[in-house]
Symmetry: C2
Amino acid sequence: MAEALHPSQMRTYFALTEAASLLQYAVQQQLQAEGGLSYVQFEILAKLVDAGRPLTMTELADGVVYSRSGLTHQAGVLQADGLIARAPSTADQRATVVTITKAGRRRLEKVLPGHIDVVRGLLFETLSAQDVRTLGNLMTRVRDHMREQPPRSAAPRKSRGSAH
Amino acid sequence: MAEALHPSQMRTYFALTEAASLLQYAVQQQLQAEGGLSYVQFEILAKLVDAGRPLTMTELADGVVYSRSGLTHQAGVLQADGLIARAPSTADQRATVVTITKAGRRRLEKVLPGHIDVVRGLLFETLSAQDVRTLGNLMTRVRDHMREQPPRSAAPRKSRGSAH
DNA sequence: TATTGTTATACTCTATAACTATA
DNA sequence: TATAGTTATAGAGTATAACAATA
């Protein structure tokens, strides 16, 4: 089990990893500087606008965050800032329905141009239209495969804190 | 300034972003579960082994972390765990020289096979050898371009905390 | 019983600023 | 004066577990 990666795999892995890290960092800096938003907060607002309708906490959590309490926390921050509103659902009394406010839309609009500038300047500047399609095809395939994978969280019962 | 992205660019951006996020999360889980290491800690150990010689804190910080104090903190954790050792440099009295210990090497070796399994299973499973080369070429180009970019931290003098 | 969501809590990571010491 | 590194500190993000309410 677990032979070493092929050199071309290593090269690809490192390039992908570093590029993604640089891009993520730049995007986070831009969102914070121009809108006081963390990336997760930006994702929440974007998801609400994209959906075009209010979403429940569970719907929002999907793909954005790995724990429900994490989302509750972020929703609390966004609500305190007046960017979203939460109300009990009428359909299911257990559920909370999240709506984006006008201020939330404005904040998203304020931040979006800079966001696009960063992505274009870092990611797309050196890619031809054909490159973009090729990369899109490859990464879509990879992403779809990743989504299917079981989270492998059948982790060997190992130490929790600092293993030694 | 800042027109919308082309649909194929959006598709590529989202696929890349989500795939990188899923991969990063899976890798972090694996490193934590099997070795009690954060990704940054893993990078530090890997960098020391890769260099094949002791490195100064400044050398270590490059590319791994965005603030020196952050590295000091992580080095403290690794040292407390016995995975690295720090000693004053003889060449430059200001500098600290970091060495990986035997325990550090063992920890890295313990974690590496699982790391490779995750990367292979998630990233390379669906890619042909040709796909890997193509993706590597594209991402290497993108990464090199990103490295050259000024960090754009000439951020518009905006609010710091929660902008409103 | 299972699900939705919140709370309390604790831990990790990161960054800024002030500081020490060497160059 | 500039650089290497640490310290103190504070803030943000995230997760687990316990809980309340509803299905």
